[in-house]
């Protein structure tokens, strides 16, 4: 017994030291799988009490109450639990940045401001220790976005349980990202900003004019790219032109990172002239022009739910209420988190805040599942618990939108039961053992 104890102890220690090396991607799901006795939050607003999900070969086959479960089938009993679609983080640097302050571990931002040909997916590190901590909270897919100062490159949608980025990708190069110039004067505060004397340095150039000029150049680039892509067999290949080809056919989404009304209104040019399928990211002021956004079929990723109000005059709760304003106007929107990687795991709580300030809980859920999938262009594949879609869902013992009840017990990606262990749980185990805080595992 003592020998066994030592052995297991050694394994436990080894596991902890190695971080998460033992957390393996799950193998493909074959045959039938059932979830039963579940309160199923479909993701599209409906809730099925005491429901059953039938999965076959990684796909959802049936969802409902009257589904027959063969005696031999693999069944997960979700009695008293909530089942949700796998949560989707619509904008993230997950897998691109490991530790913020360590330069060598940062792959999110390339040099230059015209990088349409840069592809985030190729730097996506499936072995990042951060990924598993998100998965533990029910986030099963994410949009991996290259950061930048202007046209930063293409993002890809990945599922979070894979051996490598090839396997992870749900939709490669699904979006092109533009970071809008600020179009607002920002005096040079210098390092240390709020020093006595305060902000007083005037801006030298007119940021609106400067920004609009940059955007005009970008539009010229798109015009040329469109013309270039209309013919084949160029003697001289232009990688940048080629990289934006799918924008014109709407195969690729056009994400514009913008917050102010002025930025968003300027961005409408891209819809009007090029017919791009546009998503505004950030959109902290979107509540002011929700109707206009709807009118132009622009969708939105709200990134600053847990943010301070933009101005001192704004309502103290304004960021919390923005989602409800978009919902009311009928804008297709998703909720994200402004943090580049680690705090993406708080995604459900961002949605929970929106639910506390005007959304219904099911609407808030849609904002981190189905809406996200739709605006990312993977709505036919995932985002809700509906037949034909990938079997991506999670089981929680309580309301996932509320941190005091959120407790993800199971997660399935393409029907595969995902290992919910992560580095942090392992460190927790390690020290619970050190302090003898709980019965050691396996004894």
């Amino acid at each position: 017994m003592k020998k066994l104890f030592n052995l297991v102890w050694m394994i436990a220690v080894t596991v902890a030291v190695c971080g998460q090396a033992n957390v393996l991607p799950a193998p493909a799901q074959k045959g039938l799988l059932f979830i039963r006795n579940a309160t199923i939050h479909v993701g599209n607003g409906t809730v099925i009490e005491n429901g059953i999900i039938q999965v076959r070969d990684g796909k959802i086959e049936k969802v409902g109450r009257d589904i027959e479960i063969p005696a031999t089938a693999e069944v997960v009993d979700a009695k008293g639990k909530q089942v949700y679609p796998g949560l989707i983080l619509p904008v993230s640097s997950l897998g691109l940045v490991e530790i913020g302050a360590v330069r060598a571990s940062n792959d999110a931002r390339e040099i230059g401001d015209m990088n349409p040909n840069v592809r985030a997916i190729v730097a996506y590190n499936t072995d990042s220790k951060v990924i598993n901590t998100l998965r533990s909270n029910g986030i099963l897919a994410a949009n991996i976005v290259p950061q930048g100062s202007f046209l930063s490159g293409s993002s890809s949608v990945v599922q979070l349980d894979a051996w490598n980025w090839k396997d992870a990708s749900l939709k490669t190069d699904a979006g092109m990202h533009l970071f809008m110039p600020s179009l607002m004067p920002r005096p040079n505060f210098g390092r240390g900003g709020g020093f006595p004397g305060g902000p007083n340095a005037g801006t030298v150039t007119d940021p609106v004019k400067e920004g609009v000029e940059r955007l005009e150049k970008l539009k010229a680039f798109f015009r040329e790219a469109k013309a270039y892509n209309a013919v084949t067999g160029h003697s001289e290949v232009n990688l940048k032109y080629e990289s934006v080809k799918d924008l014109f056919s709407k195969k690729q989404k056009f994400y514009v990172h913008a917050n102010t009304v002025k930025q968003m209104l300027v961005a409408l040019d891209f819809v009007k002239e090029f017919g791009f399928d546009m998503v505004i990211v950030g959109a902290s002021e979107s509540w002011e022009i929700a109707g206009l956004l709807k009118q132009h079929n622009v969708s939105v990723v709200l990134q600053q739910m847990h943010s301070l109000p933009t101005t001192t005059d704004d309502n103290v709760d304004q960021p919390y209420k923005t989602a409800a304003a978009l919902q009311k106007a009928g804008v297709l929107f998703a909720i994200s988190d402004d943090d580049p990687q680690t705090r993406g795991r708080n995604l459900p709580f961002n949605a929970g805040t929106a639910a506390a300030y005007g959304l219904t809980k099911e609407e808030a859920l849609s904002a981190i599942t189905l809406n996200a999938a739709k605006l990312m262009g993977v709505g036919d594949q995932t985002g809700s618990i509906e037949p034909g879609k990938d079997a991506n869902f999670i089981i929680s013992s309580g309301d996932i939108l509320d941190m005091s009840t959120n407790n993800v017990t199971d997660a399935f990606i393409q029907g595969r039961k995902v290992n919910l262990d992560d580095k942090q749980k392992q460190l927790n185990d390690r020290y619970e053992q050190k302090y003898e805080l709980k019965q050691k595992k396996g004894f």
Binding site: F189, G194, H306, T312, V316, Y431
Partner: protein, 1046 residues
């Protein structure tokens, strides 16, 4: 009017005669020419001072001084009489905040840079003090030189005397009183050392310290102590010119430039501590805290530069211009009036104006906004003179004083009045002399073909209309003596010349403004000549090249415009609110303590009683008076708590809001600085956090150095001033920090400051406490020796106290268990290292804050007796938090530590209840345990659990009524109560939102009105908010936020 013309002529002739004095010690190159400038100005309205006006009076001057002033005086023999009928004579103005005649200032250095190398020592060579920003040895008179261009513009504004000093540094040395006469420096200096100057600005100093408001205050306090100690001639110090002159200057009036309402108070408190009453050079915003200004007992120096309106026509631009900026634009001109109303003495200055020429427009604005003319006059004459103790020399028209006076065309503040002459030390300087040439003149030109007659309608020195048979195109200029006129027939396309629109003002600045450029053909007739009073004579050349002579005779003086200018109604303005931010309280709606009865709520006590269902809580006199069922209090305001949850107010152990600066990062040990010295009640985050249920915040120094500054516990009393924000009676704390920030790992430009490793960090700590112990012993030895001498009734001569060191004082307080540490720390090695230093040196680490690897050494922390204050789930933002886990709080709690969850972030602080709730998910704490992490636990670690942190009879009534279970994400604070005062009320907040919108609308309209009326407007300036944090974790705070350590 005719008399005036004559007077003008006479005076012009006398200009050369009123010559300079001779200096006896200076050899004369030529023959002696002694003069006395003996004049009698008769028949004048003599305004001797702001409250004494004599009609038909005489002013006699001689040798640059006033000999006599009064009514019915005879013109002394030997004096030249100048008839001043219709004229007014005033003492000329005094500006005691100038840098007149000083060398060009050097470039200001930039603010503190978290990432750049530091200059740790002074770069100035010589026997001076340690800090480059202390320039107390600077005496302006040694570098002063007369600057006629600057003097002229000041004289034209009405000034005759100024106090000048070099505006550079924290201590700036002495100022000198000088007149604005264009004479040799020896003669214009009235008092060579008239004042000593200080500021919160390093100026040209390149030394890194001080790099924060706290640092400025600490540097000044320490220097007062050092200077006192230096009087004992300590041999260790050698000769220190900085301290020497600091001491020498103490007898002078002490002037502090603080430029902002809170800085005024900060300066005044330094003065109070060292028995100095500063004269305060203010900013524009003191009206926002006028009661506090009054309490300083200071005399203020007020600038007259006011914010310009902004272009807010585009709503998308206007949106980012904050309400407080627009309100300030509206109210700033009433600053002086507010001082007058409050009975606070003040002077006015031309300082801070973009140009001296704007003085009168600023002054008129101040008058329009309620400043009385009498007080304005006093603020420009008597008060500044008395403030500097030179009222015996200047400031009124009394015999014996300098002959510094103004002759004006009427009452000086009258819109139509011009200053005609400004006499400085009896020397006449023309201001608007000869400008009163307006009138109709008959011009006769003698050509070879006979005479031609024209009529000139002269409007000003640069504008006239001329016609013969037809109106002619003309160009005119009169410089006081010479006349130039050219003209030609008007071409068909040209319209008649319109009189220029420049407004006349005392000081005569607008002369050329608005003048339309007239193009004359090359063959225009050109005339040039001289004014001999009402007759002008000259020669000229016509278009054909013929020589001409001409004469112009005044036939009709311009009609004097009647002085029917009505006193403008004081503009209607909004109200001052407290704080001066949206959602503030106005004067009539101040927050007040109430007797409150919260009925039938679920009460989370954070006491052993746990959660009480359907319970009432009575609040009286700011305390919790009773807890129970069916409580009754007829006098109480009843709040129905049915279905709602009452919790103790949330306590944030680690916050950086409401402070002007948080990092004095210029040295590795800065225990001398104090957050409490620089609180900023004008922080919207106080209100925002109240909306999230926060009632007490521990405002910490940043993490730029190993031993940071002293912290300040505050209560979120929205609207209170910087003193009343403080949590009274709480123990003092100090911030320490370890790891990446203090070794400046983020430094992209190289770190040159010790330490650069965790090894060095440990040595900095060891060294600091070793020094503190030696210091303590030195003082103990001294007091013992002193007490023995006293006991033995022996004289104390020869026994000098050691140098007081504010840095070591704070460390000794730690050793004496009078001050407590909260230490920013992450990894287990450094935590264990600090515990070892503490054990060895005999102090305790009260709190480890952040402490994300606390779970690894929880047992050691417990043994040492520490508390732990941590984040819920942030990690991986830098190397030292790679092993941070969200289970940290729960493990430490289970091990037995007292654990809190903190924010270190203005945004997250609004959701601290939710951050605490994460420990239910990560680590399985109970709901009560989770809530304790942000209520009673932080209260304990801050030593205030006897006052706050739980719902218990007798404790402060700091309470939050939630709409839901406080650990739920769906819970909103309905009421946040501090000391029995409701500071946040969700319903009132909705009403305030409406009021903010309405007030914004009003101000936007008003600004747009200014634009439409043709006032120059600035482009809309977004109002940025400054936010501080430990520079640890990136977190977007929105568009308009400047991260102070970014």
């Amino acid at each position: 009017m005719r008399k005036l013309k004559r007077l003008a002529g006479v005076l012009i002739c006398l200009l050369a005669a009123a010559a300079s004095f001779a200096q006896p010690t200076f050899p004369e190159n030529g023959t002696a020419d002694p003069r006395h400038g003996h004049y009698a100005f008769t028949h004048a309205t003599l305004v001797k001072d702001a409250t004494t006006t004599l009609s038909n009076a005489t002013l006699v001057i001689k040798d640059g001084r006033i000999v006599a002033a009064g009514a019915g005086l005879a013109v002394p023999q030997g004096a030249v009489e100048v008839d001043c009928s219709g004229k007014f004579i005033y003492p000329s103005f005094i500006d005691i905040y100038t840098d007149y005649g000083t060398p060009q200032r050097q470039q200001q250095t930039g603010p503190f840079n978290f990432f750049a190398p530091q200059q740790l020592e002074t770069a100035v060579k010589g026997p001076y003090g340690w800090n480059q920003a202390l320039k107390s040895d600077a005496d302006v008179y040694k570098v002063f030189s007369v600057n006629e261009a600057a003097a002229k513009s000041m004289r034209e504004a009405g000034f005759g005397t100024v106090l000048t000093h070099v505006k550079d540094g924290v201590a700036r040395g002495t100022g000198a009183v000088v007149t604005l006469a264009n004479e040799k420096e020896n003669l214009v200096i009235v008092k060579e050392k008239a004042s000593a100057h200080y500021s919160f600005s390093k100026g040209s100093s390149t030394q890194t310290y001080p790099s924060s408001m706290m640092g400025y205050i600490a540097l000044l306090r320490q220097t007062y102590l050092d200077a006192a100690w230096y009087k004992t001639r300590p041999y260790q110090e050698g000769f220190n010119a900085t301290l020497q002159s600091w001491n020498d200057n103490q007898g002078l009036p002490q002037v502090f430039e603080s430029n902002d309402k809170w800085n005024d108070l900060r300066a005044d408190r330094i003065g109070d501590e060292f028995g100095v009453q500063y004269i305060i050079k203010a900013g524009q915003n003191e009206y926002q805290r006028i009661k506090e200004m009054k309490a300083t007992n200071a005399t203020f120096i007020l600038p007259l530069n006011f914010p310009q309106p902004q272009d807010v026509e585009d709503p998308n631009d206007a949106k980012f211009v904050s309400l407080q900026d627009m309100k300030h634009w509206e109210l700033a001109p009433a600053n002086a009036a507010a001082f007058e109303k409050a009975g606070i003495p003040f002077c006015l200055t031309t300082s801070d104006l973009r140009s001296t020429g704007l003085f009168w427009s600023g002054l008129r604005k101040a008058l329009e906004y309620g400043l009385s003319e009498t007080r304005a006059m006093e603020a420009l004459t008597r008060i500044p003179a008395q403030t500097l103790g030179i009222y015996d020399k200047v400031g009124s028209l009394d015999a014996g004083k300098l002959a510094n006076f103004l002759i004006t065309s009427g009452p000086i503040f009258n819109e139509k009045t011009s200053i005609l002459y400004n006499y400085v030390q009896g020397i006449k300087y023309n201001v608007k002399d000869g400008n009163d040439i307006a009138g109709t003149y008959q011009l006769t030109i003698n050509t070879p073909d006979g005479t031609e007659n024209y009529t000139l309608d002269v409007k000003s020195t640069s504008s006239l209309t001329m016609w013969g048979k037809d109106t002619l195109n003309s160009k005119f200029n009169f410089d006081g003596k010479q006349v130039k006129l050219s003209f030609a027939a008007l071409s068909k396309r040209q319209r008649p010349l319109v009189a220029d629109t420049a407004q006349r003002r005392p000081g005569g600045f607008g002369g050329r403004v608005g003048m339309t450029e007239q193009t004359l053909p090359a063959n225009a007739t050109r005339l040039g000549g001289i004014s001999n009073g009402k007759e002008w004579n000259g020669t000229g050349v016509d278009s054909m090249g013929h020589r001409l002579t001409w004469t112009a005779l005044l036939v009709k003086e311009a009609e004097t415009k009647s002085d029917s200018v009505k006193k403008k109604e004081a503009p209607v303005t909004g109200k001052v609110s407290y704080p001066f931010l949206p959602y503030g309280w106005d004067e009539e709606h101040q927050p007040k303590q109430e007797t409150l009865l919260i009925k039938n709520a679920t009460v989370w006590t954070s006491e052993k009683e746990g959660v009480l269902q359907s319970t009432d809580v009575l609040v009286r006199n700011g305390k919790i008076a009773a807890i129970g069922k069916n409580l009754n209090a007829p006098d109480a305001r009843v709040i129905d708590g049915t279905g709602k949850h009452l919790s103790p107010g949330i306590i944030d152990e680690h916050s950086h809001i409401a402070a002007a600066s948080i990092n004095e990062g210029a040295q590795s040990v800065t225990s001398e600085v104090r957050i409490g010295d620089n609180l900023n009640p004008d922080d919207i985050n106080i209100y925002r956090q109240l909306s999230g249920g926060v009632t007490t915040s521990h405002i910490l120094h940043g993490s730029a150095n190993v031993i940071g500054g002293q912290t300040q516990l505050i209560k979120l009393r929205w609207g209170a001033n910087d003193t009343d924000l403080k949590f009274a009676g709480a123990d003092g704390f100090i911030k320490f920090a370890l790891g990446e920030n203090v070794k400046r790992s983020a430094s992209t430009q190289g770190n040159n400051r010790y330490p650069d490793t965790r090894m060095g960090v440990e040595q900095v700590l060891t060294d600091a406490f070793t020094r503190a112990k030696d210091y303590k012993k030195e003082w103990d030895d001294y007091t013992t020796a002193r007490d023995q001498l006293i006991k033995a009734k022996k004289p104390l001569t020869g026994l000098n106290p050691p140098r007081r060191d504010l840095e070591l004082d704070a460390l000794v307080e730690i050793l004496d268990r009078k001050r407590f540490i909260t230490c920013h720390s992450y990894v287990q090695s450094e935590i264990t290292g600090l515990i070892e230093v503490a054990d060895k040196m005999g102090f305790k680490v009260n709190t480890f804050t952040h402490i994300l690897e606390g779970y690894k050494v929880a047992d050691k922390m417990l043994k040492h007796g520490s508390n732990a204050s941590t984040f819920s789930d942030w990690w991986a933002y830098k190397m030292e938090v790679e092993d941070a886990i969200p289970y940290n709080a729960a493990i430490m709690h289970k091990v037995g530590l007292n654990v809190a969850i903190n924010s270190d972030d203005a945004e997250m602080a609004r959701r601290l209840n939710q951050e605490a709730a994460k420990t239910i998910k990560y680590g399985g704490l109970s709901q009560e345990e989770a809530l304790d992490l942000v209520t009673i636990n932080p209260a304990k670690m801050l030593h205030v659990d006897n006052k706050v942190g739980s719902i218990k009879v007798g404790k402060d009534a700091d309470l939050v009524l939630w709409s839901d279970n406080p650990l739920s994400i769906y819970a909103k604070s309905l009421y946040t109560i501090v000391d029995g005062t409701i500071y946040f009320d969700r319903q009132r907040d909705e009403q305030l939102q409406q009021e903010v919108m309405a007030e914004r609308m009003r101000l936007v309209r008003k600004m747009n009105g200014e634009k439409k009326s043709g006032m120059p407007v600035l482009p809309a300036q977004p109002t940025y908010e400054i936010l501080h944090s430990c520079s640890d974790h990136g977190h977007s705070h929105g568009l308009l936020v400047v991260e102070a350590e970014e």
